[in-house]
């Protein structure tokens, strides 16, 4: 399959691109499942029981990974937009590193908040 060539990185930029596609796919799948499930709900009790499952300790790591996908996809998307506007091409490596650092910081903070709330 030709599409698999998207996931054969030869540089950091390729790797960022591959992750962008992967996280985009995961988020799209999650959104479809989320909307499909919500549309089948008929009473508030079922909704409450679902929420109780998603904030349980066994489910929270998955939620945290989903947040990581969202943060990476968003921040890397902003980085790509900056380049698509024709800026900072010469500093793409530095921008990629900044993006990765911001992703990790935001993810750790979001995970900490999630566990604090629960």
């Amino acid at each position: 399959m030709r599409i698999m060539k998207w996931f054969k990185p030869v540089s950091l930029q390729d790797l960022a691109f591959a992750f962008q596609r992967l996280t985009g796919f995961i988020l799209a799948m999650y959104l479809i499942l989320h909307l499909a499930f919500l549309s089948t709900l008929s009473d508030p009790l079922t909704y409450e029981s679902l929420i109780a499952i998603t904030v349980s300790p066994t489910f929270l790591p998955l939620d945290s990974l989903l947040v990581l996908c969202g943060i990476y996809h968003g921040l890397n998307g902003i980085r790509v937009i900056i380049h698509e506007l024709g800026y900072l091409h010469e500093h793409r490596k530095a921008l990629l590193v900044i993006c990765a650092i911001l992703t990790v910081i935001a993810w750790l903070y979001a995970t900490w908040v999630m566990y604090e709330v629960v």
Partner: protein, 235 residues
């Protein structure tokens, strides 16, 4: 050093190893010549200038596209894995088909377009250093195909013009001597043009001349947008 080369005989693809006596200063291209001259005369590869100008010897070395003539063996790990470029049809061993590549290049009109040229009484076309600087970097492209071989858009769409052709398009659109960029913009604005780019920027990472093809594509997008707006208002 051991050279592991991915070969293709027209029907089957297979790996073959060769032991090459190397010394400091030897390039991968010199080793390929050594193999062909001393070990296996059936090995096919493309090369010409041997000094990074013609772009003929681009191959994949240890997973990354590089010019064989500019890659020092001493900088590489043993074994050295040599493969033909990706995203091209392999003709034989390390030789790939560049026909489509050059057809796309030709499509973007890689020459200066003017309607006031009189060959009977030629005049000098004056250009300031500032005007030259706008496109000079992009004029260094040697059409080696390394950018196309790593481009994810080129991998999934054969029609896509590719970074090399788009660099050529930008180089001439940014040239102050060129007087008709409209045709070129029409071509690069089509579905096979700049909008196919996924902005992976892999092309800029592997370009042996460091000419930033990804930036050229984005700058062409600006021109394409301005052209579309003008066209919309019949300006």
């Amino acid at each position: 050093m051991e050279f592991r080369i991915r070969r293709f005989d027209g029907e089957n693809s297979f790996w073959q190893s060769y032991e090459v006596p190397t010394k400091k200063g030897m390039t991968v291209l010199e080793c390929l010549y050594y193999i062909r001259d001393n070990l296996d005369s059936t090995l096919s590869f493309r090369a010409s200038c041997r000094m990074g100008i013609c772009g003929s010897c681009a191959v994949k070395i240890n997973g990354k596209p590089k010019l064989a003539c500019e890659t020092q063996v001493s900088e590489l790990k043993n074994p050295i894995v040599v493969e033909p470029l990706d995203n091209f049809k392999v003709l034989k061993d390390l030789v790939v088909d560049f026909e489509g590549f050059f057809a796309k290049h030709k499509m973007v009109k890689p020459f200066i377009v003017r309607d006031d040229i009189d060959y009977n009484s030629p005049v000098e076309l004056i250009q300031t250093p500032k005007e030259l600087a706008k496109y000079y970097n992009y004029s260094l492209c040697i059409k080696c195909g390394a950018c196309v071989s790593v481009c994810p858009a080129a991998a999934t769409s054969e029609d896509y013009l590719g970074p090399a052709a788009l660099v050529a398009a930008y180089r001439f659109c940014a040239d102050s001597r060129d007087k008709d960029c409209k045709d070129r913009i029409e071509i690069i604005s089509s579905e096979r043009g700049v909008w196919r780019c996924h902005s992976a920027m892999a092309c800029s990472e592997v370009c042996p001349k460091k000419i930033e093809p990804a930036k050229a594509v984005q700058l062409l997008r600006r021109k394409a947008i301005i052209h579309s707006i003008k066209k919309l208002f019949r300006w």
